[in-house]
């Protein structure tokens, strides 16, 4: 396996645009992504920045391709720096190699040697100087025109992207259009091996969306009309997108005083009959687990989205990790069966959050959605989502002249729920152990009956096909979840070009465990590589605890903040498949 082969298998072009505070690389990056959309490409962009709250160095990390892609590549083809200030901070996030091209402004000093070490080809682009010639001109637009041109984006797509961002007229538009034109001219004649080959022109619609927005939209589609939350990185944008959207739909978002309040507001709204959700990240989630247990015991459906960041404690708020798996699965005191699901891509944030609402409502149980910073904050071009028939129907009690038992011991475990306002079904929802009627009880038989009932709801449910993503066949499988799925899929594709057949199993349903289904999915598989972004191997332990897997297991786990790279997974697969 040579590095050339790896590169060959890896679709598209990866570009990093960097610069210090106010250099406008994010704007340029977003325009590049918009232009790629107009040109019929797929693509994604994530952002990274230094520790400054505002105005520090920043980088737009972009990957564009003719086919759908789901994560970053192992390396970058192009890095363009409006200035090189503090860029070494991003060295680990922007891996470069001998095939990478570094573009800098000769007027802005020397690039950091350590970072650009392996790069053999450097291009000089006097961005500041070129911008100065344009009234109101800015270096980022020069960079945009230059890069767009190098990678083969059509001139009009770039111009249209600028127009869509800045509006149809105005000085800024004029200056920006002049800027990209100057950049394009500067690129003329520069030969670049990293070029896009747009494949698609079938006219099918695509969406440009972040995982946070997708999760918000999915929740609304599922019927959520009440949200209470407290801001926290990286969940805030989900809430900020939902707030006006909800009020448009006749719902509401309440900013709570803290997470203890937000989850309890959500429980109150759901008790009242309104599908309800809160979103947070690790520290806020930790504050919610007492009341998550209340929702379990009182059987109030709610959805809690945890957009994970690097932990423990405050950790690295702006970076991704999957290490809230443990607390999501096991972080509730007492035996408290609840549902944990995880989207496996930006697009899937929509579907899986929609599904989560459906599960919560139909089982009257809290559902935790484990998204993460990398999905949440990556803006991606995806195929317009198809409709899924998750219909979140709550079993609602109707007055029938009989004594109402809120917590009746039904075969499915789900008991019809009375909505306040309904005559003759008045009951008290309770976090104390209770009888079928809901009266507090400390009797062993009531405790056992209600524990059994609450477990039965989950064990007897049919989660349909959405419980996992299963692709391909092979004696080796990769078992993974969440945002690791994209890089795993890419690694598997590369392995295929090496002649190694690998099956992909990515779990969306993490709790309850679904041992029969997983065993069936792994039928015939001899070796399973378990891939996750944690330090301690939380997913691996979870698999051992909940499943009796017959295959040989190997754990591949590493913490954030760096994304999982397809190349590393590929290497592991190829090595392991050697006889």
């Amino acid at each position: 396996m040579t590095s050339a082969a790896r590169t060959k298998a890896s679709p598209g072009v990866s570009v990093a645009m960097t610069g210090s505070g106010g250099s406008g690389v994010m704007t340029a990056g977003n325009m590049l992504l918009e232009a790629a959309a107009l040109a019929g490409c797929y693509g994604l962009m994530s952002r990274t920045s230094g520790p400054q709250i505002r105005g520090g160095e920043a980088a737009a990390l972009i990957r564009l391709a003719g086919e759908p892609i789901e994560g970053h590549d192992d390396r970058f083809d192009l890095v363009i720096s409006i200035d090189w200030l503090n860029l070494e901070r991003f060295a680990a996030e922007i891996p470069l190699d001998s095939k990478s091209i570094a573009i800098g402004d000769p007027g802005q000093g020397e690039p950091p040697a350590a970072m650009l070490g392996p790069v053999t080809r450097r291009l000089a682009l006097p961005m500041k100087a070129l911008a100065k010639k344009i009234p109101g001109g800015r270096a980022n637009m020069i960079a945009l025109g230059y890069v767009g041109s190098l990678i083969g984006l059509p001139e009009d797509a770039l111009a249209e992207a600028v127009r869509r961002t800045l509006g149809a007229e105005g000085d800024r538009l004029t200056a920006s259009l002049a800027g990209i034109e100057a950049g394009r001219l500067a690129a003329a004649g520069v030969d670049c091996p990293h070029r896009l080959a747009p494949r698609r022109s079938d006219g099918a619609k695509r969406w440009l969306i972040t995982g946070n927005e997708a999760a918000g939209y999915g929740a609304l589609k599922g019927g959520v009309r009440f949200v209470a939350a407290y801001p926290i990185t990286p969940a805030t944008e989900m809430l900020e997108w939902m707030s006006p959207a909800l009020s448009g739909l006749g719902g509401v978002l309440v900013q709570a005083e803290d997470e203890l309040a937000s989850i309890n507001m959500v429980i109150g709204a759901s008790y009242g009959g309104t599908p309800a959700l809160t979103a947070t990240s690790g520290p806020g989630f930790a504050l919610m687990t007492e009341s998550l247990g209340l929702a379990v015991a009182a059987e109030v459906p709610i959805v809690v989205v945890d957009v994970m960041r690097s932990g423990p404690s405050t950790g690295i708020p702006t970076k991704s990790e999957q290490a809230d798996l443990n607390i999501a699965l096991y972080g509730v005191h007492g035996d408290a069966p609840h549902v944990v699901v995880a989207p496996n891509s930006v697009a899937d944030c929509l579907t899986t959050t929609h599904w989560a609402v459906h599960l919560a409502e139909s089982m009257q149980v809290p559902v935790v959605v484990l998204s993460d910073q990398s999905m949440g904050q990556t803006r991606m071009l995806i195929d317009a989502p198809r409709d899924k028939d998750f219909i979140g129907e709550r079993a609602v009690a109707a007055a029938n002249g009989q004594d109402y038992k809120r917590y009746a011991l039904t075969p499915s475990g789900v008991s019809p729920m009375a909505i306040p306002g309904t005559p003759s079904l008045m009951y008290t929802a309770d976090g104390l152990e209770h009888s079928e009627r809901g009266t507090p009880s400390s009797q062993a038989r009531d405790h056992l009956a209600q524990l059994d009932k609450r477990e039965r709801k989950l064990r007897s449910a049919d989660f349909g096909l959405h419980w996992a993503e299963i692709e391909g066949e092979g004696e080796i499988a990769v078992l993974t979840w969440g945002s690791c799925t994209g890089p795993v899929r890419e690694a598997i594709a590369r392995a295929r070009t090496d002649g190694v057949a690998v099956k992909l199993v990515s779990l969306r349903l993490l709790s309850p465990s679904y041992p029969d289904r997983l065993a069936a999915a792994l039928e015939g598989v001899k070796r399973v590589l378990v891939v996750e972004q944690t330090h301690s191997g939380q997913f691996y332990r979870y698999l051992r605890a909940e499943h009796a897997l017959n295959a040989e297991l190997r754990a591949m786990h590493r913490p954030g903040p760096l994304p999982m790279r397809p190349g590393d997974i590929h290497r592991e697969l190829v090595e392991w498949s050697r006889p």
Binding site: S262, V266, Y271, G273, G401, P423
Partner: protein, 277 residues
């Protein structure tokens, strides 16, 4: 319980058949009776009312009424009540609980509920003690009250719920005494009728851990002055009285927080437009 209600329920119909866990003589019995009476007096049907609580002896209230009830976790009654009322403005929502539940672990929600001014009624049965956990100091306990956890007393200045409620923006503030069933029912009824956040602090003796509170019936008396709508004046009055003036002490007219609910101006399809490329 399931016969169709032709006529409006009487006070007794607002009580459930669940036997309270309360000690004989506990002040909370009186509060239950007053609450039932107030709801009947206001002409509610039982299903129109939801009673939400946290944890404590007093927080057992919901199950003893025949309305919709929610008995949640310690300290979070106001948050649950807020979510319920904001999403279901058609319901009458009453939060009820104790001084520990409301002023200690729940203190932050108390502050912010007063400030938020959702149209709720909050009833605190204040007995200056943690009854349920068998007799520790609460925020309103006298600094020198001896008990096992803080021998000789906490030494801390008691929390002043009415002053804090006023300072944080509660729109209706009253003090009641559980021994006065009719007076308390009247105050609760006024609180429920008042729009916005209404706070009713009820002196409700814990006969088991604070038997000396049986004397409260000698001390409680109607407030000598009429309610005011000036929070500063109300605060001054409360700070200077001896804690036993009973009645509505402040009634304001601040607009409640109630976002419009249920009227869609856009569709999911409209929202999708912004993503389409």
């Amino acid at each position: 319980m399931n016969a169709p209600v032709a006529t409006l329920p009487a006070a007794k119909d607002f009580k459930s058949d669940t036997k309270p866990v309360w000690c004989p003589g506990c002040g909370d019995y009186g509060v239950l009776t007053s609450l039932a009476r107030a709801l009947a007096d206001l002409g509610f049907r039982r299903e129109e009312v939801a009673i939400v609580s946290g944890i404590g002896c007093s927080s057992r209230m919901p199950a003893y009424t025949n309305c919709y009830g929610f008995h949640g976790v310690h300290g979070r009654a106001l948050a649950v009540a807020t979510g319920l009322k904001v999403s279901r403005p058609d319901l009458t929502v009453i939060a009820a609980g104790g001084d520990g539940d409301g002023y200690s672990i729940g203190g932050n929600h108390f502050l912010h509920a007063c400030r938020r001014n959702v149209d709720l009624t909050y009833i605190v049965m204040d007995n200056h003690v943690y009854g349920m956990t068998k007799g520790q100091s609460s925020p309103t306990t006298e600094p020198d009250w001896d008990n096992a956890l803080t021998p000789g007393g906490t030494g801390l200045r008691p929390f002043q719920p009415l002053v804090i409620a006023l300072a944080s923006g509660a729109n209706f503030v009253a003090r009641a005494f559980s021994g006065d069933i009719i007076g308390t029912a009247d105050i609760i009824a006024k609180a429920v009728k008042s729009r916005g956040f209404s706070f009713v602090e009820i002196l409700s003796p814990c006969v088991t851990f604070r038997p000396e509170q049986r004397d409260w019936k000698e001390l409680a008396r109607p407030s000598p002055v009429a309610p005011t709508d000036d929070p500063a004046r109300a605060a001054r009055r409360i700070m200077t009285d001896d804690g036993f003036n009973i009645g509505v002490l402040y009634a304001g007219d601040r607009k409640p927080y109630q976002p419009e609910i249920g009227r869609a101006r856009r569709s999911l399809q409209d929202l999708a437009e912004e993503f389409a490329r």
